[in-house]
Subunit: 207 residues, 4 copies
C-alpha cells in the first residue's frame, strides 16, 4: 500500500475525564469535527488520553511507564494537532492541561536549524460544556500551543455550551446544532488549508 | 433625616457599552440582583460608567475632566462594590477593564495603618452575554478586585449567557431564569453577610 | 491533649509536579507563607498532591484507589485552604487543576440549610514560576474556589516569578525577596482574620 | 512611485495608556520588534490608539467622531496586525481591549465568498509590564484575534516583564534583554513568512 502524498495527518487528543468505553460529549464533538476534516483528505487518529499514563513533568519522557513518548511521536508525525476538551468549573480539563504541560518540553527540542519540531504543525481546539468556558479555554489552549511552536489557522475553534447553569450534555442533543456544524466546517477548511501550505513552505531557519 | 446605622451601602458600576438611556441587558441583571440585595437592608447606587469620562491612566485622578475621582469617592464610601459587565469576544467590556485599571492606583493609597482604603469593601460581579465568557470574566474581575484590596464573599458571581453561538439577549427573556434568580439570591445573602461582618471587624493593621 | 479552641486549621495542597522528596520551589513558598501563618495561631498541614492518586472525575469519590476522599475530608475540617502551585506555560499545574476539578463535586454536597460544606472556609493561593503567570493563575484559582463556596480574603495571593524568559527558580534564591515576604505577611494576616470571623459568624441558611 | 510587490504591510496598534508624546515602554518594544520586521521587507505603520477617539460599541462605525473606521481601514489594508500593550493588574490595557471589542464587528462583515475580511491577515502581540501577565494577555489577544479571523503564526508573541512585584520599566533598561531580542527575531521571521504565504494562498471560500 502506498501512502497518498496529498493526505494530511491529524491527531486528536480527546481529553475527557471519562475512560473508554464511557460515553463522552468531548469524543462526540471531536468526531463531528472529523466528519468535516475528512472532506479535505485528512486522516485523523483519536487518542482518549485518560486511558493512558501521562506522567506529571516537563521532560519529553518521564520514564518508567510514561505513555507520553508514544503520543508525542504521533503528534510529531502529524500535520494537524487537535485538543478536544470538556469544560469543568469554566476551565479545560486537567487531562488537557497535562498535555500542554508535557508539550512544554518542546521548547528545548530544536532541529538543526534551531526550530522547534512543532513548527510544521497547525493547532485547533474543540470544546464542550454544559456550562460556559469555551472562549477562555480557546485562549488558554491557543496560548499554550502557539508558545510551543504550533500555528493557529483563522477561526480554529469549535465549541458548544448550554445556557447558563443548565445541565444538558452535548452528547444528548438530538442533532448537531446548526451553528456548531457551521463552526466545524470552517475549522476543517482553514486547518486543512494552512496545514497544506505549511507542509510545503516551512518556517525559515533561525539565523 | 438620620442614617440607618444597619444599612449597608452598595455601588454598582454598570459597564455596558450602551450610553443612557439605551436598553441594556447588563443594566437589567444589575437591577435584578439589586431586588435581592434590598432584602438585606442594602442601599444600592447605580452608575452607568460609559456616560462618564473615565480617563486612561493609573492615578486616582488623571485631571482635566476626569470623572473617576467622583466615582472613586462613592466606591470608598461603599460597603459593597459590584461590577456589572456584558460579554464581548468572551471577555469583560473595555469599560469594565478601564474601571479595574483605575483601581490599580489604590495599591499606593494606604491608610495610617498601612492598609489599602478598599480593605473594608466586599466585591461581587454580575455578567451577561448572548455568548459564553462568564466564568472567565469572574476570574479576571475577582483577581483584579482581590489584588486591589476587596474581599470576595462565597459564590459572589451571578451571570447569564445563552447557548453557544446564539444571539438572544438577557433583556429580551420573558422572565428571570430560575437558575439566575437562585444565583442572585445567594450573591445578595452572602455579600450582605460578609460586608456587615467586615464593617464591624476590620482587617488588622500592618505591623 | 485538649484542642486549643482559638487555633485555626489550614490545609495547604502543594501542587508541584515533583514527587517527594524532590526539591520544590512551590513547597518552599508554601512553607515561607506558613511561617507567617503560624504567628496567628494557625496550624497548617501540607500535602504534596502528586504523591497521591487523585483520580480524574467530578464525584467526591471516584472509587477504587482514589485518594481524593482522604484529602477532601482534611479540606472540610479546615478553616483555611491554600493551593500552592508552580507556573508552567503561564498556567497553574495540571495537579492544581485536578484539585479544582475534584472540588466541582461540592456544588451538589449541601448541608441541611442548603449551603455548600465549603462555606466556612477561606481560600488563598501561593504561586511560583521562573516565568510569568501569577496574576492569571490567581484569577483561575480564585474563580474556581469562589464558585465552589470558598471566601477570598483581601489580597489573598502570594507569588514569585523571575524576569521574562529567565530560568531562575525560587528555591535557589539566596533569601526570600522583600516583596514576597511582605505579601506573605499580608496573606497570613488577612486569611487568619477572615477565617476567624467566618468561624463564629457563618453565612445564613438558604431560605 | 511604484509599490514594491514583495513588500508586506504591517499595522501596529500601540495600546499604552499614555498619550503622545509621552514616553512609553509599549511603544519602545513595538519599535524594537519593528527593527526585526524591517529585515523581511515589512513596512510598519504605528498608531498610538489613546491619541484617537475609539468609541465604545460593536459596530464598524459608531458615528459622530468615531476614529475607529480610519484605523479599521488601515487594518484591512495590512498583511500583519500587531497589538502592543502594557500590563496593568495582570491584564491587557483597556485600550487594547477596546480594539478587540471593536473588531467584534468583523464577524458580520463577510466578503462575497462568505469569509471575514480579516482572513488574509496574520496577528501578533507585543507585551510589556513591570509585573507579570504576558502569557495571559497573549492568550486573551490571540483568542480574540483568532475568533475574529486572524491567523496566528508560530510563536507570535514577544514580551518583557520584570521580577515579581518590582517597578522597573522596559523603557528604562540599559539595552534590549538578549531573550527579548531573540523573541523579536522569531516573531518577525514567522510573521513575515506566514503573511507572505497567506497573501498568495488565501483561505478557500465557504461552500
Amino acid at each position: 500500500m502506498t501512502e497518498d502524498p496529498n493526505e494530511l495527518k491529524a491527531l486528536t487528543l480527546i481529553c475527557t475525564l471519562t475512560p473508554s468505553p464511557g460515553e463522552s460529549s468531548t469524543d462526540k464533538l471531536a468526531h463531528d469535527l472529523d466528519a468535516e476534516l475528512s472532506k479535505y483528505n485528512v486522516k485523523n487518529e483519536f487518542i482518549r488520553v485518560v486511558d493512558y499514563n501521562i506522567k506529571p513533568g516537563v521532560e519529553t519522557d518521564m520514564g518508567d511507564g510514561d505513555n507520553w513518548p508514544m503520543i508525542r511521536q504521533k503528534m510529531l508525525d502529524s500535520d494537524i494537532f487537535i485538543i478536544a476538551t470538556p469544560t469543568w468549573v469554566g476551565q479545560m480539563s486537567s487531562v488537557a492541561l497535562r498535555v500542554i504541560e508535557r508539550l512544554d518540553a518542546e521548547l528545548s527540542e530544536l532541529d538543526e536549524q534551531g526550530r522547534p519540531l512543532t513548527f510544521g504543525i497547525v493547532g485547533a481546539v474543540a470544546i464542550v460544556g454544559n456550562e460556559d468556558g469555551a472562549h477562555k479555554i480557546t485562549a488558554d489552549v491557543f496560548q499554550g500551543l502557539n508558545d510551543l511552536g504550533f500555528t493557529i489557522p483563522a477561526q480554529a475553534a469549535t465549541y458548544w455550551n448550554g445556557e447558563a447553569m443548565q445541565r444538558t450534555d452535548y452528547k444528548d442533543l438530538d442533532s448537531i446544532p446548526e451553528k456548531v456544524a457551521g463552526a466545524n466546517a470552517i475549522v476543517a477548511r482553514n486547518v486543512a488549508h494552512l496545514a497544506r501550505l505549511l507542509k510545503s513552505n516551512e518556517y525559515p531557519a533561525a539565523e
